[in-house]
């Protein structure tokens, strides 16, 4: 079809086309695996590509994400773009302390919150709860990534989750949740604590 027809067809059938294009979301470019967001392909066809940036995980996997999304959430990335140290044509931002699995999750978080920021509070909270339904290793990795990239709202979310693991819970329960197998106290100290604060155990 002529490009003009495609554009007209797309503008009429936007939702269907998006679903159709989401099947095309992985395109090999060069030697590395690059994820293309369906919206990007859509807008490229309509003649106005969104600015993208490349993030490189510690495993050397490259993730392409809308600049606007990362700049809104990550203070570190925002600063890099603002002070001009990032060249859109060539460079990628190396994130050596974030592995691919975690980076993908972080990008998902930022993208969802940018595109759905007008949703009602309950829906967003439900999505966040589902997002953080990970094991403690995953939570730790997300926390370190959010801290490194300085993503304020993700940090607050994770702090809230960890806080709830402590608040109102007995010591034995917290030790189980945190995987504290050896509390490090001498038997006398532990006994003393249990005698002095029986209601905490």
């Amino acid at each position: 079809m002529e490009l003009l027809c495609i554009r007209q067809w797309i503008s009429g059938l936007l939702p269907t086309v998006k679903k159709w294009l989401s099947a095309w979301c992985i395109k090999p470019v060069g030697g590395a695996l690059v994820r293309q967001e369906p919206e990007y392909i859509l807008l490229a066809l309509m003649g106005s590509p969104l600015k993208k940036i490349m993030l490189c995980s510690s495993e050397k996997e490259i993730f392409s994400v809308e600049e606007q999304v990362m700049v809104q959430h990550s203070v570190i990335i925002n600063n890099m773009i603002e002070d001009g140290s990032y060249n859109h044509e060539e460079s990628k931002i190396p994130l050596d302390c974030v592995d691919s699995k975690t980076l993908k999750k972080v990008i998902d978080y930022c993208t969802h919150h940018t595109h759905h920021h007008n949703d009602n509070q309950e829906d967003l909270e439900a999505w966040d709860a589902q997002f953080l339904n990970v094991d403690s290793n995953g939570l730790y990795d997300l926390l370190m990534a959010a801290n490194y990239l300085e993503i304020r709202n993700l940090l607050d979310l994770i702090y809230g989750t960890i806080k709830n693991m402590i608040k109102g819970k007995k010591i034995d329960e917290i030790r189980r949740i945190f995987n504290i197998k050896d509390h490090g106290f001498t038997p006398e100290e532990e006994e003393q604590n249990r005698k002095e604060y029986p209601h905490f155990y």
Partner: protein, 421 residues
């Protein structure tokens, strides 16, 4: 969460992250982590924010016992604490003034305290020790039911941005001095003082809240004020004092605040503003004033009506107006000076941004109706006008409605919502 094969990663998080988590916990839970493991023993001890409320110790029926245990808890905690304390807040109604509190404040003054909130019980007012005035980094101070007596050599809190004094015993000179010697002060809240006469000089002040019996308030140097909220109680003494004064309260209070964005007045505020000579056409335009809320305006007092009108007509960008009336029983249908509306309100007056109007406790007295008529005729973009009649005047509601329907509306979109019980 908590798989048996995983390792304990949370205990090895950097201290800055651990503090961010601990600070979000109630103080009791934060301190409890000291018995979690040997690694956690002192992690809580360097948190920089300490907030104590009713739940920080176990409650029991004997108030004395609970009070003693709270004092012991806080003292022990401070003794074990390490490092700076930036925020210290006590909101405990059963904690009365006691000598230990002096010691806590001394300790805080040596540990870079920035925010201090002290709300104790209803008994004897706590006398703030002079070491408070050595807290050079103090940026927020909130005191409830205390006695404050700055020493003569006190030069002010140079970093103070927010001051909230609620039922505090302090001499008027001391308060004026305190306000004018804090150059960065942005937010000031004074409540429940007795017959305070005050002149406020605070060149950076943005937010002002006043509640209580104020004999005389003068805003001398507050050009950056953005929000004012005042609830003024009146006693016979004060009313008498007002009869005798000739200066124009409106100008004394609102004459120097060109950047005002929001004005809220409760109880006798409009009456207070109406005292003194009529300023005539105001020399000042409030070009940022978007929200005006005036409660208990007496529509039987011509001077109060004039205050309301002057405010409205001097705010060209007004978007939202809320007025509640306080006329008791509607008087006769004739009221004096009804022709004043035609004289004062030229047909050229346009409130070109007014969108929302809410009028509550309306009794249907002639001046109320004239105000509604004026607002409807001068607001070309009005969207909603809600009128909630006073509950005592069921009979005149129909009369009010009949008159309302006749009024000409400048805005085709205007919806009038008449709320009936």
């Amino acid at each position: 969460m908590g798989d048996a094969l995983g390792s304990d990663l949370i205990s090895d998080l950097p201290q800055s992250i651990v503090e961010s988590i601990l600070v979000r916990l109630p103080i009791r839970d934060a301190v409890k982590t000291s018995i979690l493991s040997s690694k956690w023993r002192y992690k809580w001890a360097s948190i920089t924010q300490l907030v104590f409320d009713e739940k920080c110790v176990d409650s029991c029926s004997d108030r004395d016992v609970v009070e003693k245990s709270v004092v012991k808890f806080i003292t022990r905690l401070l003794f074990l604490h390490q490092g700076p304390i930036h925020k210290f807040q006590i909101t405990i109604s059963y904690l009365q003034s006691c000598p230990e509190i002096d010691q806590w404040i001394l300790f805080l003054s040596r540990n870079d305290i920035k925010e201090l909130v002290l709300e104790l019980g209803e008994g004897e007012f706590f006398r703030i020790p002079s070491c408070l005035f050595n807290c050079k980094k103090l940026s927020r101070l909130e005191l409830f039911r205390c006695e404050l007596d700055p020493p003569l050599s006190f030069k002010g809190f140079l970093c103070l941005r927010s001051l909230n004094l609620h039922q505090v015993l302090i001499s008027p000179d001391a308060i004026e001095g305190l306000i004018s010697n804090c150059p960065l002060l942005e937010s000031l809240s004074l409540s429940y003082f007795d017959s305070l006469a005050l002149s406020i000089r605070a060149p950076n002040l943005k937010y002002l809240y006043l509640e209580g019996e104020f004999r005389d308030i003068c805003l001398d140097d507050t050009p950056l004020l953005v929000e004012i909220s005042v609830a003024m109680y009146m006693t016979d003494d004060i009313a008498e004092h007002f009869e005798q004064s000739a200066s124009c309260n409106f100008l004394k209070f609102l004459g120097g605040v060109p950047n005002l964005e929001r004005l809220v007045g409760h109880i006798y505020f409009t009456k207070y503003l109406s005292i003194g000579n009529d300023p005539g056409c105001l020399p000042i335009i409030y070009k940022n004033l978007e929200i005006i809320e005036l409660n208990q305006v007496s529509f039987e007092d011509m001077k109060e009506i004039l205050v309301v009108l002057r405010l409205i007509t001097s705010s060209p960008n007004l978007k939202e107006l809320q007025i509640s009336g306080s006329s008791n029983i509607p008087s006769a249908t004739d009221a004096p000076d009804l022709d004043f509306w035609e004289k004062e309100c030229s047909s050229k007056c346009r409130l070109s941004h007014l969108r929302v109007v809410q009028l509550t406790d309306m009794c249907g007295v002639p001046h109320e109706m004239e105000l509604i008529k004026f607002l409807l005729a001068s607001s070309p973009v009005l969207e909603t006008m809600s009128i909630i009649p006073c509950v005592y005047v069921v009979e005149s509601q129909l009369k009010m409605l009949t008159e309302l329907v006749k009024f000409r509306r400048a805005s085709a979109k205007a919806e009038i919502v008449f709320v009936r019980e």
